[in-house]
């Protein structure tokens, strides 16, 4: 057990006299969460790179926004399949169907 040297003064705590006292109360929570695109498959079927990373073309061109994030978002089709937006916009020029299910491609939503 490690004592915290900065807070060692022995003093009575301020109890809320009104409420029935609980034995354990959460005072503070330092939580860590991770965000990722809400996709079924986290690899883009077109370029085979994780959708969290930029697509291969963007990595090759070193595209990124001012914060240093590579500016390569995810796009979902009505079929619920998802790809890099960059990869998909090139793909539909040749074939306007989802590469995974062959349904006609139409955008359901884009990542932000």
């Amino acid at each position: 057990m490690a004592d915290d040297p900065e807070n060692s003064v022995d003093k009575p705590d301020d109890n809320d006299a009104g409420k029935p006292e609980k034995m354990f109360t959460l005072k503070k929570w330092n939580a860590v969460a991770m965000w990722s695109w809400d996709v079924e498959c986290d690899i883009c079927a077109i370029c085979r790179v994780q959708v969290m990373d930029s697509c291969l073309r963007c990595q090759a061109e070193n595209k990124r926004d001012v914060l240093g994030r590579q500016d390569c978002v995810v796009v979902w089709g009505e079929c619920n399949h998802s790809f890099h937006h960059c990869c998909m916009s090139l793909w539909v020029k040749q074939n306007n169907r989802c590469p995974l299910c062959q349904q006609e491609w139409s955008i359901q939503r884009m990542g932000k």
Binding site: D13, T25, K28, R48, K112
Partner: protein
């Protein structure tokens, strides 16, 4: 004096003029009036009517000079007429006589040149001009060869004096120099001046020539002088070898080089200095390299600075390839010392010792190179090679080199909260870059660095964010933006999160919601953070946390679309207020531990199995978090080993003189699996990097042969690792699979880019 051309008789003027010319050239006093008369005599003859007599004057003057020089040769130079002959011990007074005569003649001819200024400027210059214009094509060849009187006089001196006496003069000069050498440069000043004057007369006599004015000097004197000096040096070197150690020999040679260069300045024309120096180096150094190197190994290994300094001075002028032995020996020496200092390292702080020991070696030899080898780039690059070979050495064929890991950990130690002052940390981080630069697998370093940075950022262990940023900037400077891209993204996540928390709290306040808990949430982007396996550990979140989580998720999804949040509970911690004891306490602990404590709100005793099932924790997580709780004595266990049946209950007698404390956890210690995972993930990243590079190359080249593509990849600016060909081939194959590139139809070993 009348300027009007008139009829004159040559023989009336010439004898008078000749007499004055003789006085002028022998430096006798000539009255101003007589000088002026003679001056106009030259003019009168040059413009005489009906025919100018310039050519005749020239020929008569030439004859006069020729006979004058020949008379001087026999009367003044060859024949010793000096009265103080008995007092002069020197037998070679030929030099003295020649020199005195030359001093008189060279001055006299300058005056005579002045006297003949009209002839020089009007007749001879004009002739030169018309020569070049070839206007008068029928000019006699004799006339074409006419020189100005000053030049003519010098040329006559060369023909009748210098070339006649040459071998005698040179013999005497070389004797003189030999005497100076034998007497350690104490030849008397007067004699030195004479020899110097004679030597320089060979140059001065040809000075007027526009090209090849040194040829006489070189043929006549310089060549034999160099040869004689060379023989002398060889002989001296032989003598030194008889009586000297290598160390003494080098000292002597340095002295001799210095004396000889002084001597050269004392006697020779400036154009000979480098040649004589070269001769000296050749005979004392190049010809004796075997001897000089014979103790090289000992001198280096015992670091005999004075000897090494001397060896450097001695070897400095010779070609680089001949210095290789010293440099190689020096390199091996540094390498051995480096290996010695890092090989024996053991224990927990091996990374600190590794970096600091290597730094000591580096600094020591950097200092030595500055003090002994004048910061010579050959030696600096030997230091670089030695350090790189120690730092990148693999302990064995099977084991990876761990330097990248050590250097990254060293940074971590410095950047973590500690009592060391900021200036010192800053200095150490800067020094650390010295070692970092030698690492070949910089991407391995980056992996370790980013993992340790992640831990510092998530657990808020950084000494200062300024220091963190400073270090990232140093790395960026050394390796470029790509190298630190992910580190920057991690940094950005932390500051974006701080902002997000503020906004979230304001949002709660505006909505009048009080969660009753001080909430701070870090949202990290997947991909940028090296969090090892990101498999979510199962955990039944206690309802006490649920409201906070839901409120935040709602807020977050409202702000961003298409994102999902995964809570990394194993990285969360918080403060729990305990009110079940005589005093109340505030305890910092992990989320899992808080969840365990919360279970005792409603019951006094639980079995381990019950706790584990309620919280849905796996064995490993449960054991890891439960043990510290028992050790802290907040909870009592019915047996030392925690099995399913072990009963856990609150320790109602717990006391602590501190009201605020934390339960230590072994969480932040790294496991061997983590290290291995880190190393393996490097390979994946290398492939991705190569694929991106190949796409980039193919996009700009469109079509490329296999070998040309490989060459281009290999010649990429080396950022963080050296790619091997097998890996490049694999990447090409996988890009063909992914239809980024294809084999061209006409050739099997040619690829083209698919847009």
């Amino acid at each position: 004096m009348s300027l009007k051309p008139k009829v004159v008789e040559f023989f009336e003027v010439w004898p008078r003029l000749r007499g004055i010319a003789e006085s002028v050239i022998t430096l006798r006093k000539v009255e101003r009036a007589i000088w002026n008369t003679s001056f106009s005599d030259v003019y009168t003859l040059c413009v005489a009517q009906p025919e100018p007599m310039a050519d005749r004057l020239y020929n008569e003057t030439k004859e006069f000079l020729e006979s004058h020089v020949q008379v001087m040769l026999t009367r003044k130079v060859l024949e010793d007429t000096r009265e103080d002959q008995k007092d002069n011990k020197a037998t070679s007074d030929l030099l003295q006589r020649y020199y005195t005569t030359w001093m008189e003649y060279s001055q006299g001819i300058k005056y005579l040149h002045q006297l003949y200024i009209y002839l020089n400027q009007q007749h001879i210059k004009k002739q030169k001009i018309t020569d070049t214009e070839s206007f008068y094509g029928n000019l006699s060849s004799d006339a074409a060869e006419q020189m100005e009187i000053g030049e003519l006089g010098l040329d006559i001196w060369r023909v009748y004096m210098v070339e006649f006496l040459a071998s005698e003069l040179v013999r005497h000069i070389l004797e003189g120099i030999a005497v100076d050498r034998a007497s350690n440069g104490t030849l008397d000043w007067h004699r030195v001046q004479t020899i110097n004057g004679v030597i320089h007369s060979f140059v001065e006599v040809q000075d007027y020539k526009k090209t090849g004015s040194l040829k006489l000097y070189q043929d006549l004197f310089e060549a034999p002088m160099l040869e004689a000096s060379g023989a002398y040096y060889t002989n001296e070197a032989n003598k030194l070898l008889q009586r000297c150690t290598v160390s003494e020999y080098m000292q002597e040679v340095i002295k001799i080089l210095e004396c000889e260069s002084k001597r050269a300045k004392k006697f020779l024309h400036v154009s000979s200095l480098a040649k004589l120096r070269k001769q000296c180096e050749e005979k004392f150094i190049n010809d004796r390299l075997g001897f000089i190197y014979s103790e090289c190994r000992e001198m280096v290994s015992e670091e005999r600075r004075q000897d090494l300094r001397n060896m450097y001075i001695v070897l400095k002028p010779i070609p680089d390839n001949l210095k290789a032995e010293l440099i190689q020996t020096f390199l091996e020496h540094i390498k051995n010392e480096g290996l010695e200092t890092v090989n024996a390292l053991k224990g927990e702080n091996i990374h600190i010792a590794f970096v600091e020991n290597m730094l000591k070696v580096h600094q020591k030899y950097q200092e030595l190179i500055a003090a002994v080898f004048e910061n010579d780039s050959l030696f600096l690059s030997a230091l670089d090679k030695a350090c790189a070979s120690v730092i990148n050495r693999r302990p064995s064929e099977r084991q990876p080199c761990r330097s990248a890991e050590y250097v990254a950990k060293y940074c971590d130690t410095l950047l973590k909260k500690s009592k060391t002052c900021e200036a010192e940390i800053d200095q150490k981080l800067t020094n650390n870059i010295t070692i970092f630069k030698y690492i070949e697998d910089k991407d391995v370093y980056q992996k370790f660095y980013s993992r340790l940075l992640a831990k510092r950022l998530i657990h808020e262990q950084s000494q200062s964010m300024d220091a963190e940023e400073g270090m990232i900037n140093r790395l960026k400077q050394a390796c470029g933006y790509e190298f630190t891209n992910k580190l920057h993204r991690m940094f950005t996540d932390i500051s974006v999160s701080a902002d997000l928390n503020n906004k979230f709290n304001n949002h709660l306040k505006d909505a009048g919601i009080d969660l009753g808990i001080n909430l701070s949430i870090k949202v990290l982007q997947a991909g940028a953070w090296p969090l090892g396996s990101t498999q979510v550990i199962p955990f039944a979140v206690p309802q006490e946390f649920e409201k906070s989580i839901k409120m935040f998720e709602d807020y977050y999804h409202n702000l961003f679309s298409g994102r999902k949040l995964t809570w990394l509970h194993h990285m969360c911690h918080g403060e729990l207020k305990l009110s079940h004891l005589k005093k109340s306490y505030i305890v910092t602990m992990q989320t899992y531990q808080m969840a365990v404590m919360l279970l005792f709100e409603t019951c006094d005793s639980l079995s381990c199995r019950e706790i584990q099932n309620t919280l849905q924790l796996n064995d490993e997580t449960f054991q890891k978090h439960m043990q510290p709780m028992i050790e802290s004595k907040l909870l009592n266990a019915s047996s030392e080993n925690l099995t399913g049946e072990t009963r856990i209950e609150l320790n109602m007698d717990y006391t602590n003189k501190r009201t605020k404390f934390k339960i230590s956890s072994a969480l932040q210690k790294e496991t061997p699996q983590e290290v291995e995972h880190t190393i393996n993930s490097v390979d994946e990243d290398r492939k991705l990097f190569l694929q991106a590079a190949i796409v980039r190359i193919m996009k700009s080249r469109k079509v490329l042969k296999h070998n040309a593509l490989i060459q281009e990849v290999l010649s990429l600016p080396k950022v963080s690792f050296t790619p091997n060909i097998a890996m490049i081939k694999k990447c090409v194959e996988s890009l063909i699979d992914k239809q980024y590139i294809e084999r061209t139809a006409n050739s099997g070993d040619e690829y083209s880019y698919m847009a």
